[in-house]
Amino acid sequence: MNETLKSLRYTALAVVAALFVSAFIIVITDIAALREGDVLTALDTLRLAYWSLFKGSFGSLRAISATITGATPLMLAGLAVSVAFKAGLFNIGATGQMLAGGMTGLWVGFALDVPGPIHVVLALLAGALGGAIFGAIPGVLKARTGAHEVITTIMLNSVAGFLTLWLLKTELFKREGRDDAISTLIDEDAKLPRLFWFMGKRIDLQAHLGFVVALGCVALFWWLLNRTTTGFELRATGLNQEAARYAGMRTRSLMVVAMTLAGAFAGLAGASEVLGLYGFASASLAGDIGFDAIAVALLGRSTPIGTAVSAILFGALQAGGRQMQVNTDVPIDLIIVLRSLIVMFIAAPLLVKAMYRLRGEAQSYGQTFRGWGG
């Protein structure tokens, strides 16, 4: 428990440090004000920027909805990276797994003809399955041939990208009357219901039940890690593969298990975007989510709760960033800077330690990165 608190402290300090450096950037890039030598105005810009950041993420129901909408795929994809980290693997393939899950979910979403709620559930399961199969590939390759998962998952991202592009142009997926890579729409009853349906049909409340699915997956991940033999084996393998082998665990099979699970989580991320947000698929379906998920997992130290919280934080930054851009001249790109800074401070615990003059071991902090050993 003490250990958890300690790690939370580092994470919080990293976020604070990133906010601080970003503040500095906001002030010195406020050229208009600085040219006049008007530091006070620059500081006021800063105040307004951070205030809008907060307003735009948690300040209203609409803001909260936007935060949740952004957080949903990040949380699921973040779990995909976290579960792999736990087993000592570095899953960079969340993007590809999302696309795979998005496309299988989409297909079940428009091709199957079953009544309402069953249709959504089947489409989600199809998404999980598609992602799982796609995620299992690098797992099997690693277990069988030792091929490093970092390489194979990156390559498979390209495979998934072009495969999706091609599929979207086939007769099966193509939307009638469109020549670009846009899929046909899913059935109305395959849609994930809105989270705030009770507020009426407000179009600005886009948050959908995918968020609940994501929270369910967080709980599932927690249960798996802490209450099952498989979870124990995954953790032992991730922390010390030699010892796991000595203890009689089948570490190779565990790699496949971990990557399959990772794929399933990412597949759900893709499917929930298709079924909950867009209602169709495009080649840019996964966007940068697969990569942002790595930052989410790092920030959350690969724990279930941590991943959930950092996904919400990233969702909030995204939502608040838009507001910030509207209210001030600070571009939304600052959010990317801010997120990058957070990751940098997370990855450099010694730096954070030195900045805050903390004593104590930051060593265990690097644990997340053990996947690199190959």
Partner: protein
């Protein structure tokens, strides 16, 4: 490097205190090091010996206290300062580039330059030869380091520090990797160094060696110097008591063995490395119920691979392993566990434990799948915790809470976790590799007693250790391994340490007297 012997120098550490988060590694330590004598620093693991030497060598800055050289206060900011002030260090793990020659290694970092900034390797060769001759180190400057035995590599390290003008040479556990005859040669070198007016600091936990070579002995316990001992009058048990803080049983007390039926039957076992080297070569032996068989040998003669083959972590290239009447040659580690094999692995941090998991989790690491701890994929952590609590009490594992990670334990207590886990199962064979390596004296005493107890309960025990003393004290039968083969099967009561040492070096007692020295070359 020539004038060091002309004058004597005194290095004095005064009131050194060095704190790490949660521990005081050195607590107001005073130490005097003089050229021309051997100072032995003894203490258990974690007593602060290495920290103290790292302070002396400029790797750590002391929180309090000062260093005086001939009375003048000095501060070392880095090892470079320490080297400049005449301090040399030979680490336990050698810092050599394996595929470089002796001369190349020796000059690495201080290469003699020819014209146009090229490496003057001839001068390097001459330098090595000079030092080697002067101190009778017998080194060939052109030999490639990876082809040299450990004892010779150590001499390369010694030349390295001598060439950097060391007036005091610090040796950190120098004998851990040496055979008994290499140890004697090493002592000869130490005496030569001292005669030449250099000082030697010798860090060890082997009391016999301290008594043999030291002019003065300082005992460290929990970061403090708790006493001095005069090697002329002190006894091993008196020093051990100072080290541990209570009287210690240094010998293993056991009754004569009453061997029963064969439990482990190994026939013609061979292990081949991927590169084609045969590391275990046609090994056959039997371990019976109720006896302890010890495998002695210098590190790197196939013991590690033998144990890995027996435990199922490595494939046997040839041969048969029968455990309790069942052929387990092709069984997985888990199947062997189930067949009654308990295994205390050689490297507790790398294999025996997942140090970032809790003590409870580590205590069930090899048995979490038993019906006692899980059904289907559902873990019964409550039951695991109950068993862990019991084991922590029964095996005297010192921890405030078994839910803390194993990394919070000292080496000795970590080892007790493994011993508790492996011996508390229902086993027929206990396979223990280096069961007390890096473990404090108190824990050694305890682990040895447990192993003997296990034997008396009718378990077959196989001990593999590079500590000859340990094998001789524990085993009822001693096998010696050399270059992958078992070269001797001896009765420890009927054979001397020196003779076993000769077998370990690949010769046979009674052959040429210089055999040991020859093997070390």
């Amino acid at each position: 490097m020539t004038h060091a012997s002309a004058t004597s120098t005194t290095y004095e550490l005064r009131g050194i205190t060095k704190r790490f988060p949660g521990v005081v590694a050195n607590d107001d330590v005073n130490l005097v090091i003089r050229t021309g004598e051997v100072l032995c620093l003894v203490g258990e693991n974690g007593a602060g010996k290495s920290t103290l030497m790292n302070v002396l060598y400029g790797l750590y800055r002391a929180d309090e206290g000062e260093l005086r050289i001939d009375g003048a206060p000095t501060v070392f900011h880095s090892p470079a300062d320490a080297i400049a002030a005449g301090i040399g260090m030979v680490h336990q793990h050698f810092m050599l580039v394996p595929n470089f020659t002796v001369a190349e290694n020796v000059v690495l970092g201080a290469e003699p330059m020819g014209r146009a900034g090229t490496l003057d390797i001839d001068r390097a060769r001459t330098m090595v030869r000079e030092v080697s001759d002067r101190y009778h180190l017998n080194l060939d400057p052109d030999a490639v380091v990876e082809e040299l035995p450990v004892g010779v590599r150590q001499r390369v390290e010694i030349v390295k520090v001598l060439l950097r003008d060391a007036r005091v040479v610090v040796f950190d556990e120098p004998t851990a990797v040496l055979t008994p005859s290499e140890i004697l040669e090493f002592f000869e070198i130490v005496r030569t160094l001292v005669r030449a007016g250099r000082g030697v600091v010798f860090i060890t936990h082997k009391l016999k060696e301290a008594l043999t070579i030291a002019d003065r002995i300082n005992v460290l316990r929990r970061g403090k110097v708790v006493g001095d001992a005069d090697p002329a009058t002190a006894t091993e048990s008196a020093i051990a008591e100072m080290m541990v803080g209570r009287p210690v049983q240094l010998t293993v007390e056991k009754k004569a063995a009453a061997p029963g039926a064969a439990v482990l039957d190994v026939q013609g076992l061979s292990v081949v490395e991927p590169d084609g080297r045969t590391v275990v070569d046609d090994v056959s032996f039997v371990v019976r119920a109720g006896e302890i068989v010890g495998v002695a040998g210098v590190q790197g003669n196939g013991q590690t691979e033998l144990v890995e083959a027996l435990s199922g972590l490595r494939r046997a290239a040839a041969g048969r392993i029968v455990l309790d009447g069942r052929d387990v040659t092709h069984d997985s580690p888990r199947e062997r566990h189930a067949a009654g094999m308990g295994h205390v692995p050689e490297d507790r941090q790398r294999q025996g434990l997942v140090v970032d998991l809790t003590i409870t989790e580590n205590l069930v690491l090899t048995r979490y799948h038993d019906a006692q701890f899980s059904s289907g994929i559902s873990m019964h952590w409550d039951d695991a915790r109950a068993v862990a609590k019991d084991l922590v009490a029964r095996y005297d594992i010192r921890t405030p809470d078994p839910e803390q990670t194993a990394s919070t334990l000292s080496g000795g207590n970590q080892q007790k976790v493994i011993v508790a886990r492996e011996l508390s199962r229902d086993i027929r064979l206990a396979l223990a590799a280096q069961p007390t390596r890096g473990v404090d004296v108190g824990s050694i005493e305890y682990i040895h007693a447990r192993i003997v107890e296990e034997r008396d309960a009718g378990t077959a025990v196989l001990i593999v250790s590079t500590e000859l003393d340990e094998v001789m004290a524990l085993a009822d039968r001693v096998l010696v391994m050399y270059r992958g083969r078992i070269v001797a099967d001896l009765d420890p009561r009927a054979v001397s340490h020196m003779d076993v040492g000769l077998y370990m070096a690949g010769s046979r007692p009674g052959e040429a007297a210089g055999a040991g020295a020859g093997a070390a070359r």
